[in-house]
């Protein structure tokens, strides 16, 4: 056999570069891998929502168990305690909605998305790493979608996954799948509502991240913004007693939309359309800020 030597150290690349692009998936996946390298923040952020999910699924499980009369594994005393915990409404859909709008869960989802999302664009700009991205054949949309999915991923871990877990527990413990048969719409609504809530927060966090140079500043800005709007809307409402000022607060709007989505009786006295328009205006403005900053970023990269 004729001997051949391949000592050339530099091998040219024969493959082709595909023009059809799923580049944003690569950017997203590398962003997720990079962000979840440090395990401690992951644990600290995702721990509490997971615990809340466990508590709520236990309530759901117990309330179903009580409905069926037989009380496997838990004695009557515990059942009473659970019922007390669940408050008057043992209706399962009620439990899920109250999980979604539970202040602790909402706070931690915001914290998780802010913690992982704040550095997504800010650190890229500070380090100059965006030069590496934009000197590649990608469009601004690829970059934006990639970073969006990477941040939303952590939002889903904090909210969507626990919500689905509760639903599955409800489905299993409900007598011969009655939960799935006649309340399937609740499952869909949970997924839709969580996804929408995560999308809004992700857009807000990324917009702030694209405006400032440093992750810590972006984190402070996100929390500053949210608490500021809350305080302003509270004070305005307190003094003028006009509920339209409460549209300023993101949390009030999401509560109102949750009541409307899950057809719950609501304590708010304005139409859901107003909340919907307020939230979509916020979402639109954050997307605009993102588009404007990314244009400048690639332009002056």
């Amino acid at each position: 056999m004729k001997a051949t030597t391949h000592t050339e150290i530099y091998r040219p690349f024969e493959g082709t570069l595909s023009t059809r692009s799923f580049r944003f998936l690569t950017i997203a996946w590398s962003g997720i891998r990079l962000a979840s390298k440090k395990k401690l923040p992951l644990l600290v952020m995702l721990g509490p929502p997971a615990m809340a999910a466990i508590i709520f699924s236990f309530i759901v499980y117990a309330s179903y168990a009580l409905q069926k009369g037989e009380v496997p594994g838990i004695d009557a005393g515990q059942a009473q305690m659970v019922l007390a915990l669940a408050g008057k409404n043992t209706e399962v859909a009620e439990q899920i909605v109250s999980f979604l709008t539970f202040p602790l869960v909402r706070g931690f989802v915001l914290l998780t998305v802010a913690w992982f999302g704040a550095g997504m664009i800010a650190e890229d700009r500070r380090l100059g790493a965006h030069l590496l991205y934009f000197s590649r054949p990608i469009t601004r949309l690829d970059y934006l979608l990639g970073k969006f999915l990477a941040t939303a991923w952590f939002g889903c871990l904090a909210l969507l996954v626990p919500a689905i877990a509760i639903n599955t527990i409800a489905a299993f413990s409900s007598p011969d799948w009655s939960y799935v048969k006649d309340q399937w719409d609740v499952i869909l609504k949970t997924v839709a509502f969580s996804a929408a809530w995560i999308a809004i927060i992700t857009a807000l966090v990324l917009a702030v991240s694209s405006l400032v140079e440093r992750k810590t500043l972006a984190l402070a800005a996100v929390f500053g913004l949210v608490f500021l709007t809350e305080a302003v809307s509270n004070v305005l409402f307190q003094l003028t007693h006009e509920s339209r000022y409460r549209l300023l607060s993101l949390f009030r709007n999401t509560d109102r939309l949750a009541d409307w989505a899950f057809a719950r009786k609501t304590s708010y006295d304005w139409a859901p359309e107003a909340s919907l328009c307020a939230v979509s205006m916020l979402f639109a403005s954050t997307l605009f800020v993102l588009w404007w900053r990314l244009r400048r970023m690639e332009e002056v990269a």
């Binding site: 305080a231 004070v235 003094l239 003028t240 006009e242």
Partner: protein, 258 residues
């Protein structure tokens, strides 16, 4: 001692323009402008029965003290030392024959001047906006609002600046303190309230006897201490923090990694 004062004065003059022009100050101006704008909106659109006192009370309590003062102090105060380290301009000052605490005091004074300017004018603006309404302001309330804002700004700025001397990311610690610790403990009635700066600031601001505080829905309104006492404790807290900061910056060797 004179050496310390002279160096502090020189650094104050040198840093004043720098602090004035930094992007953080833009953010601080924006923050300080929000309460007066809200007060104006309320004063014009609120229904007839709302008295000026109530507007001034609610806005200064729920908006100024709770959110604006801490965040503004956080934005300004956390940069006092950290900005010099991050820009790596601290080398020039650390290799000059000045006592090191002068760096902390000099920049802190420059930052405080701006914090006082912003919070002071914000407090006055709210009072003016509230005065548009018919009916008179309870006497002394406007003064107490002004005092609470200034004292609050000072104590918080000193606190966050000192945190900046020891930690690399004072912003995160400050954020945690303001939103997690203070908001949680200050709003829950009970003895532990006096651990927070917020409680003492509220003691300066709130005088339970005045009628305007009813509508502000403040829980346990009568558990506040007297303004004089609150001022005393806050003064002690400020001085102790300053001394700790000065000692810290004198001993600390800032290693500016490349």
């Amino acid at each position: 001692m004179i050496e310390l004062l002279r160096a502090t004065w020189l650094l104050f003059r040198m840093q004043l323009t720098m602090v004035m022009r930094s992007r953080r100050m833009l953010l601080a101006i924006l923050l300080a402008a929000i309460p007066p704008v809200i007060a104006l909106i309320v004063a014009t659109f609120a229904p007839g029965d709302v008295k000026p006192g109530e507007i001034l009370a609610s806005i200064s309590f729920w908006l100024n003290l709770q959110v604006i003062v801490p965040i503004l102090a956080l934005v300004a105060g956390s940069a006092v030392v950290t900005e010099e380290i991050e820009n790596r301009t601290i080398t020039y000052l650390f290799t000059r024959p000045i006592p090191r605490p002068a760096l902390l005091f000099g920049r802190l004074l420059a930052t405080l001047v701006l914090v006082w300017l912003l919070l002071g004018s914000s407090a006055i603006a709210i009072a003016l906006a509230a005065a548009q309404r018919t009916g008179e302001l309870p006497d002394g309330l406007a003064l107490r609002v002004f005092a609470a804002n200034i004292v609050g700004g000072t104590v918080y700025t000193i606190l966050f600046a000192t945190i900046g001397v020891f930690l690399r990311h004072p912003m995160i610690v400050g954020l945690g303190y303001t939103f997690a610790f203070e908001m949680a403990i200050a709003n829950v009635p009970g003895g532990s309230q006096s651990l927070t700066i917020q409680y003492h600031l509220r003691s300066i601001l709130v005088d339970a006897t005045e009628t305007c505080w009813q509508s502000a829905e403040i829980l346990n309104i009568d558990s506040f201490s007297s303004p004089g006492e609150a001022l005393g404790t806050l003064a002690v807290v400020a001085i102790v923090t300053l001394v700790v900061g000065a000692l810290g910056i004198a001993r600390r060797q800032y290693v500016l990694t490349a």
